[in-house]
C-alpha cells in the first residue's frame, strides 16, 4: 500500500509497451491475486493514460468461471477508462473447456498471440497512419 503502483502485491508484473499495458499471467493464479490484478490494471491505466491492455494467458492452464469473470471485468473497467483489452494466447484446451462450461465471454476481444493483439490495438488506435500516405492527386 506504500508503493504508488502496488503491482507486486499480485506477483504479476504489468509492463508498458508504448501506450499499451502488457500483463502476462503464468501458472497458478490465486483468486485474491486475480482480484488484486484487476485493481492494479485499472490504476495503471488511469496513471499512465494507456489506451490498450493485452492480457497474455498463454501460460495459464486453467480458466474457470471465476478467472473468466475477472478477465471480463478487467476488460469492462478498462473500457470505462478508455482502454481496449485484448486477451491473447488462450490454449486450445482452455477454449474447448470454456465453451463446455458455458462461459463464452461475449464482449471480450481475443487474439491468438501477443503479436496479433498488439497489431489489433495499434491498428485501431492509429487508423490511417499509413493509408494516409498514399499518393494522391
Amino acid at each position: 500500500m506504500t508503493a504508488p503502483y502496488p503491482v507486486h502485491a499480485t506477483g504479476v508484473p504489468v509492463l508498458a509497451l508504448g501506450e499499451t499495458l502488457l500483463v502476462s499471467l503464468q501458472g497458478e493464479l490465486h483468486d485474491g491475486m486475480a482480484e488484486q490484478l484487476q485493481q492494479d490494471i485499472s490504476h495503471r491505466i488511469a496513471d499512465s493514460g494507456a489506451n490498450g491492455v493485452i492480457i497474455d494467458i498463454s501460460g495459464v492452464e486453467v480458466v474457470d468461471s471465476f478467472l473468466g469473470r475477472i478477465l471480463a471485468e478487467i476488460a469492462a473497467s478498462a473500457s470505462l477508462l478508455a482502454a481496449r483489452t485484448v486477451v491473447a494466447g488462450m490454449r486450445p484446451a482452455v477454449a474447448i473447456t470454456l465453451v463446455e462450461l458455458g462461459l463464452t465471454l461475449p464482449g471480450l476481444t481475443t487474439a491468438l498471440d501477443v503479436d496479433r493483439a498488439l497489431e489489433l490495438l495499434t491498428r485501431r488506435s492509429t487508423p490511417s497512419a499509413s493509408d494516409g500516405r498514399e499518393k494522391g492527386t
Binding site: D31, D64, S65, R69, R91, A93, L103
Partner: protein, 147 residues
C-alpha cells in the same frame, strides 16, 4: 460399480484460495498419471476448480477426496468435495445455469457437471454438501442429455 483402490486415495483440504490452486495442481497431476489427454485434464481440473471454490465459498471450507478408479481397461478419477456447511435447499435451482447465491456467474455446479462423465450431489440443509464427480480416460461419451 467401479472398483477403486483406496490405498492411493488422497484427501486435500480446502480452506483458502491457496488450497484451490493446490487442488488444481494435484488433480492435474493425478489425471496426467492416469493417462488423461490434455483436453480431458483441462476439463477435469476446471470442474475441480469450480467445485472446490463452491466448497470454500458456500460450504465454508472442507476437503476433496481424490480416488483413482479402474473399470476394465478404462481408468478414471473420482473427486468428492465434502463440506459441512449450510447445504443446498433447492438443488434443482442451484443446478440452473446462471443461478448464483454468491458472487459468481452461476456456472459452478451446472458447468462442472458438463465437464465430467458422472455427477452426483448429496446435500441436506444444515448437514453439508458432498459433490462427487467421475471422469473416465477414454471412450466413454459424457452424458449430455440435459444440455
Amino acid at each position: 460399480m467401479p472398483a477403486s483402490d483406496p490405498a492411493v486415495e488422497t484427501s486435500l483440504p480446502i480452506r483458502s484460495d491457496a488450497d484451490l490452486a493446490w487442488v488444481r495442481q494435484q488433480v492435474r497431476q493425478s489425471a496426467a498419471n492416469l493417462g488423461f489427454g490434455l483436453v480431458q485434464q483441462t476439463k477435469l481440473v476446471t470442474a475441480a476448480s469450480e467445485l472446490a471454490r463452491n466448497t470454500l465459498v458456500h460450504g465454508g471450507g472442507g476437503h476433496v477426496e481424490v480416488t483413482p478408479l479402474t473399470r476394465g481397461l478404462t481408468r478414471g478419477l473420482r473427486l468428492s468435495f465434502v463440506d459441512s456447511g449450510p447445504g443446498i435447499r433447492d438443488v434443482e435451482l442451484a443446478m440452473t445455469d446462471g443461478y448464483s447465491s454468491g458472487s459468481g456467474l452461476g456456472l459452478g455446479l451446472s458447468g462442472a457437471k458438463r465437464l465430467v462423465d458422472e455427477f452426483e450431489i448429496d446435500t441436506e440443509p444444515g448437514r453439508g454438501t458432498t459433490v462427487t464427480v467421475i471422469a473416465w480416460t477414454t471412450g466413454v461419451p459424457a452424458a449430455r442429455s440435459e444440455v
